[in-house]
Amino acid sequence: MKFVIYLILVLLLVPLQTTLLPHLSVWNVKPDLGLVAAVLVGLFAGELEGLLVGLAIGWILSLFSAGELWLSLLTNGGAGLLAGFLGRQVSQMTSVSLGLGLLLVSLVSGAFAALNFQHFDGSQMWWMIESIVFPQACFDGIVGGALYWILSQRFDVIRLRTE
């Protein structure tokens, strides 16, 4: 059952991320729903499932991006794994703390991706961090925090996390 849910989640992310979100982007920046989903799965289901779902998301989204496969696998899989580890250390998770955590994870993965642009000089890299990576990290934090808040309103998230 869980496998089917994850499969639907991964498949649903593709049209959302590539077709719907570009119409809802602000200043041509859209949130990375793949990263948000990987973090939420890692948080609720543990590091192993976070890693596997993150890798699956990274792989499928890289098919629809001009970016490198390994980078997509590393950022999404790594975010799921990290969220799983951190989720076990933090006892009182709130939507704000999750949002801030996601902002940091997105910022680190975005900065790592920007460093991977080898033909970029210092000013171009800074431009990318300033105008793409940072706004996207803010977006990811807000979307992740909002999703967690919605989940916490409808379900007992503490029970979900300990199950």
Binding site: T18, D32, L61, W127
Partner: protein, 173 residues
């Protein structure tokens, strides 16, 4: 050429790319050029069975061999951070000016010669530099493109194909 529809944009924010509804199954391969009747859109960088990713001419990672139509000076057209394009490596002695049209040179890559890339809007000539560069306004409105044509046979390949197609008819020595 294969006609294709734009079904999405790059899944990340880091690249300016579009997704087409045609892929390997329709004969599309990486590095093929993508155009509209107005001009150059970009080139295919990735394909799956039924879709392909096209890196736009406005992406800083993209580079296309260009030619200034009036002066016949060659250069490389790359995307800029602002979502426009720039032509680099224009010779210092070139008489390029605003309003000049830039077309594909056909020398490198999978674009035939003479497809419109854009119009020069600003010349950047720095003192002591070996070359000058120019900012281009792409001819195609990249943000609104809905249908494109993928060039399946490159200029060089078609010439070779034409040459080899003649061979069977010729008498063997």
């Amino acid at each position: 050429m294969v006609a294709a529809q734009v079904i999405g944009r790059d899944a990340t924010n880091r690249y300016r790319a579009i997704i087409l509804n045609k892929g390997e199954g329709d004969g599309i391969k990486p590095d093929m050029g993508v155009v509209t009747p107005a001009g150059v859109v970009g080139r295919v960088v990735k394909t799956t069975g039924a879709s392909s990713v096209v890196l736009l001419v406005t992406d800083p990672s993209n580079a296309i061999a260009g030619l200034i139509q009036r002066t016949r000076d060659e250069g490389v057209v790359e995307g800029t951070q602002q979502g426009l394009a720039q032509m680099k490596y224009i010779p210092l002695l070139s008489t390029v000016r605003d309003g000049d049209r830039v077309v594909t040179s056909g020398l490198v890559g999978d674009f035939p010669r003479g497809l419109v890339i854009g119009t020069i809007t600003r010349i950047d000539k720095q003192e002591g530099a070996l070359f000058q560069s120019a900012e281009l306004m792409p001819e195609v409105d990249i943000g609104r493109v809905e249908e494109v044509l993928v060039i399946q046979t490159s200029y060089g390949q078609s010439t070779k194909a034409g040459a080899s197609a003649d061979l069977p008819g010729k008498p063997s020595p």
